[in-house]
Symmetry: C2
DNA sequence: TAAAACCATATAGCCACTATAAGGTCAATA
DNA sequence: TATTGACCTTATAGTGGCTATATGGTTTTA
């Protein structure tokens, strides 16, 4: 199949597919005489794998690492679990950071009601004075 | 004061200060004969304002907007409150997205214990098969 | 006087794409 | 047959908010 069909079947832009190839995440496919890329079912699977990882917000580097593991099927899989644990920890720390942020924002917002003049806006005051952290 | 002292007093890199100037967030300061930038107390306040906004993860565009409002002190401040409300909504939606993500990751992680071979790794299986969404 | 610390500009890199430009290929239609 | 439209190709620049590097001039300190 050609790049457009691959793109449609996985739900990705053709540019993204070429980008993954340049980044070494997708193996370079054979070419037709006219230079068009020809993909196989393997490429579909490989691309779908990448997309599933990306949905989970794994970085391209992490995906690369996972692909290396796939090439050594008889190694122990602890490294994979560790990779995932680290990623989970990262997501959790993002969540708590954002929760702190949300509280700060809500408290700042509470310092103003609408319909003041900008001069007297509690939000702008809160941002202008150093009483923040 | 020169750029280094400004940087130290606000806790920012000198490069960042020049970057803000290029982006139009900090007004271009006067220069000494040798070309060195000379900053005033106003610049300190302006830069501190920017940093407080950045800590709250307001974008440079949003900060720009706030600065425009500061220039019109007798306008009503509703636009500022709205800007903040939108930002809070955005943060909240990030949080819920990340919470969904965390659940998916934890459930994937639960499909494997350590000490299998990669071939049999539940995590890798979960990523390889389409049973994800 | 020489080294260290400071200042200047310009340019590239980060991440994971996305957009744009400029052009070649192919099948179907007027 | 000519042309339209859908497809493909490469190359390059842009996104955001910095950060790093290169190269060179200036000032302060030892």
């Amino acid at each position: 199949m050609r790049i457009g069909q691959l793109a449609r079947s996985v739900g990705v832009d053709t540019q993204t597919i070429r980008f993954y190839e340049r980044e070494g995440l997708l193996p370079p496919p054979d070419r037709q005489d006219n230079g068009y890329r020809i993909y196989t079912e393997r490429h579909v699977e490989r691309l779908a794998f990448i997309r599933r990882c990306r949905i989970l917000e794994l970085s391209l580097a992490e995906i690369h690492e996972l692909q290396r593991y796939q090439g050594a099927p008889h190694q122990p899989c602890r490294a994979i679990n560790t990779l995932l644990d680290d990623h989970i920890a990262q997501v959790r720390s993002q969540i708590t950071d954002l929760q702190v942020l949300e509280k700060q924002l809500v408290s700042l917002r509470a310092s103003c009601n609408d319909d003041r003049e900008i001069e007297a806006c509690g939000v702008l005051e809160g941002l202008s004075e150093g009483s923040m952290q």
